[in-house]
C-alpha cells in the first residue's frame, strides 16, 4: 500500500488536551448562574405511586423547583427504539431506578438535601425478576401483550436429520452475568438557554443527533431549537446510548432560564444506565467423527429488564451469531427478549454477539475432547471462509480473515499448525 497517513499512528487529535487535563468533560463546565439538579429514583421495582409530595423540598431555601411527570410538556418518555423509559414516573414505577423527580437548587448540597425531603408513597405490585419466570402465563404482566418483547426463530435445514448424522452430541446450558459498562466518567451534562432562546446541552453521549430528536419530543419544541454539543466522552461502551441526564437538564434549563448542571456519582451511574443482558443459553450441538458440525439447536433467553432499549436488536444479534463462525448445515435457534422488573438492559460492547461465544466456544472444546481432536483442529475444519453460508443463509461475500486469525494466534503460542489443520 502506498498510503501516507492511513496505516500510521499519529498522535490522537485530542491527545494533548487529554494529557494536560484541558479536555472538557461535562463535569468540567462551570457557567455563571449555574444551578444543580438531583434525581430522585424509585425505591420499589414495581409499584403504584400513591402520593408524591414535593412541597417540603420546594420550601427548602435555595431550591428553585422540583420537576415531576406533570412538568414534561411533550412526550414523557425516551428510548433508542421505543420511547418507553419515562422521563419521570407517572403514577407507576416498573424498575427500582425509575426517575421520580428532579430537584433543582442553587447548590449541589441543597439539591441533595432537598431530595431527601421528597415524600413518595408506593403501593407495591407483584414483580418478576427472572426472564424464564416472566415468560410464563402466570407471571405478572408488565406489558399489555405480555412480557415477551421479541422472539426470533432461525430455521435452516433440518436439525433432527442433522443430529441423526452426528457421531457425538454435546448438550449444555450456560448463563452469562449482568454487566455494567463501567466507563470511568460518570454521566453529566450542563444545559442552558442561549442568546437565541435555543436550548443547548453539553453532554457526553454516543449519538447527539438522536438525543436531539428525543429531547425535542419530550420538551415539545422543534428540533432546530435544541443543540446537543458532545464534549469529551469518558468512555461509553454502549452505556450512553439511552439517555440519562439530557432531558432532565434541558427541561430545567428551559423552564428556569438558568444553566443547569447534573452530575451523577458512581452509585447513580450504576443505577441510571442500561446493563448487558444476562442470557440463559441452552445448547445442543452434534458433530461427525472427523469433527464436522452437523446440527445446532439453541434457545437463548435474554433479560430485557423493565424497558425495551435495544433488546430486540440485541437478541436478534445473539441469534444470528449463535453458531459461532462455523458452517453448520442444520440450525434451529429461538431467541427471546423478556421484560422483568430488573434494571433495564441495552447496548454494551458486543451487543448480543458477546454472550453466545461462551456457549459455542465451550462446546467446540467439549466436542473436540470427545472426538480426541485438538481445539484448533475442530475449529479449523468448520471455520467460515469467503463464500461460506451462515445460519441465516447469508453468503460471506466479503473479506473473511478467520483462518488467518487462527493461524496467527496459534503460531504465537508455538502450536504446529500444519499438523493441527
Amino acid at each position: 500500500m502506498h498510503e501516507r497517513i492511513v496505516g500510521q499512528s499519529p498522535w490522537r487529535v485530542d491527545g494533548i488536551a487529554k494529557v494536560t487535563g484541558k479536555a472538557v468533560f461535562p463535569q468540567d463546565i462551570y457557567l455563571p448562574g449555574m444551578v444543580y439538579g438531583k434525581t430522585v429514583r424509585s425505591k420499589y421495582p414495581h409499584a403504584k405511586i400513591t402520593k408524591l409530595d414535593t412541597s417540603k423540598a420546594e420550601a427548602l431555601p435555595g431550591v428553585l423547583k422540583v420537576f415531576t411527570a406533570r412538568d414534561v410538556p411533550g412526550h414523557n418518555g425516551h428510548g433508542v427504539l421505543h420511547p418507553d423509559i419515562p422521563v419521570f414516573a407517572d403514577g407507576k414505577v416498573t424498575s427500582i431506578n425509575d426517575a421520580i423527580c428532579l430537584v433543582v437548587a442553587e447548590t449541589q448540597d441543597i439539591a441533595e438535601e432537598a431530595a431527601l425531603l421528597i415524600d413518595v408513597e408506593y403501593e407495591e405490585l407483584p414483580a418478576v425478576f427472572d426472564p424464564r419466570e416472566a415468560m410464563k402465563e402466570t407471571a405478572p404482566k408488565l406489558r399489555e401483550n405480555g412480557n415477551i418483547a421479541y422472539h426470533l426463530k432461525i430455521r435452516k435445514g433440518d436439525v433432527e436429520k442433522g443430529f441423526a448424522l452426528a457421531d457425538v452430541i454435546v448438550e449444555q446450558s450456560f448463563k452469562t452475568s449482568m454487566v455494567d459498562q463501567a466507563f470511568l466518567q460518570p454521566e453529566a451534562g450542563v444545559a442552558t438557554v442561549d442568546e437565541r432562546g435555543h436550548i443547548v446541552i453539553y453532554v457526553a453521549t454516543q449519538y447527539p443527533h438522536w438525543d436531539r430528536t428525543e429531547i425535542a419530543r419530550a420538551l415539545g419544541v422543534s428540533q432546530n431549537m435544541v443543540r446537543v454539543v458532545t464534549t469529551a466522552v469518558g468512555g461509553a461502551f454502549g452505556g450512553r446510548e439511552d439517555m440519562t441526564v439530557q432531558i432532565h437538564a434541558c427541561l430545567a434549563a428551559m423552564v428556569l432560564k438558568r444553566p443547569v448542571k447534573i452530575v451523577y456519582d458512581r452509585s447513580e451511574s450504576f443505577k441510571a444506565h442500561s446493563k448487558r443482558h444476562p442470557m440463559y443459553m441452552d445448547y445442543r450441538v452434534g458433530a461427525t467423527r472427523d469433527g464436522k458440525l452437523v446440527a445446532l439447536e439453541a434457545t437463548i433467553i435474554g433479560d430485557a429488564g423493565a424497558y425495551l432499549s435495544w433488546s430486540p436488536n440485541i437478541l436478534r444479534k445473539a441469534a444470528v451469531h449463535a453458531t459461532g463462525p462455523y458452517y453448520i448445515p442444520n440450525v434451529k435457534v429461538d431467541s427471546y427478549a423478556v421484560h422483568t422488573n430488573n434494571p433495564f438492559t441495552g447496548a454494551m460492547r458486543g451487543f448480543g454477539a458477546a454472550q453466545p461465544p461462551m456457549a459455542y466456544e465451550a462446546i467446540m472444546d467439549m466436542l473436540a475432547e470427545k472426538l480426541n481432536l485438538h481445539p484448533f483442529t475442530i475449529r479449523w475444519r468448520n471455520a467460515f471462509e469467503r463464500g461460506s453460508e451462515t445460519a441465516t443463509g447469508q453468503i460471506l461475500d466479503m473479506s473473511v480473515g478467520l483462518k488467518e486469525t487462527m493461524l496467527e494466534a496459534a503460531r504465537r503460542f508455538g502450536w504446529n499448525v500444519e499438523e493441527l489443520k
Binding site: G21, A23, L184, Q185
Partner: protein, 157 residues
C-alpha cells in the same frame, strides 16, 4: 456552613481562600480553582481519577479534606506540563497510545510522575503496581505501562 481560611501551594502558587470546612480537596481544586484536570470517577478512593500529589506523594483527592492540605504543597495535572511544553511523561503517553477516553489520564500521569521520581528505572511489574490504584476502562493498561517505560527512557537521557 462553617468557613475557614485555607492556605496552600498549588502548582507552585500560594493560594489563600475562605472555604467551607467540609469540602474535599477535590472540590476545592475543581469548584474553587477550576483546575478541572483532576477528575472524579468514584468518590471513594477506588479509581484514582482524582489523583494529585500532596507533598510529592500521590493521593486520592476525593479522600482528603481540603483543610487537611493547609500549609502543604499540591501538584495537579495542570502543574506537570502545558500544551506548549509537555512533560516527557505526557509526550510518552501520546507516543505510546496510552490515551483513549482520557478520563483516567491525568491521574495516571501523576501516578507515573510520582513513581519515576522515586524509581527512575522501574520494571513493568513495578509500573503495574504503581498504577494499580488507578482504574482505566479503555486501554487494558498495556500501553500505559509502555508509556511509563518510554518516559523512563526519555527522562534517563
Amino acid at each position: 456552613m462553617e468557613m475557614k481560611k485555607l492556605s496552600l501551594t498549588v502548582n507552585g502558587k500560594l493560594i489563600e481562600r475562605e472555604v467551607p470546612t467540609n469540602i474535599r480537596l477535590l472540590d476545592f481544586l475543581r469548584d474553587y480553582l477550576h483546575l478541572t484536570g483532576t477528575k472524579e470517577g468514584c468518590g471513594e478512593g477506588e479509581c484514582g481519577a482524582c489523583t494529585v500529589l500532596l507533598d510529592g506523594k500521590p493521593v486520592n483527592s476525593c479522600l482528603v479534606m481540603a483543610h487537611s492540605a493547609h500549609g502543604r504543597e499540591v501538584i495537579t495535572i495542570e502543574g506537570i506540563g502545558t500544551p506548549d511544553k509537555l512533560h516527557p511523561i505526557q509526550e510518552a503517553f501520546l507516543e505510546a497510545g496510552a490515551v483513549q477516553c482520557g478520563y483516567c489520564t491525568p491521574g495516571m500521569v501523576l501516578a507515573a510522575y510520582a513513581l519515576l521520581k522515586e524509581n527512575p528505572n522501574p520494571t513493568r511489574e513495578e509500573i503495574k503496581v504503581a498504577i494499580s490504584g488507578n482504574l482505566c476502562r479503555c486501554t487494558g493498561y498495556n500501553k500505559i505501562v509502555d508509556a511509563v517505560e518510554l518516559a523512563a527512557r526519555k527522562e534517563g537521557k
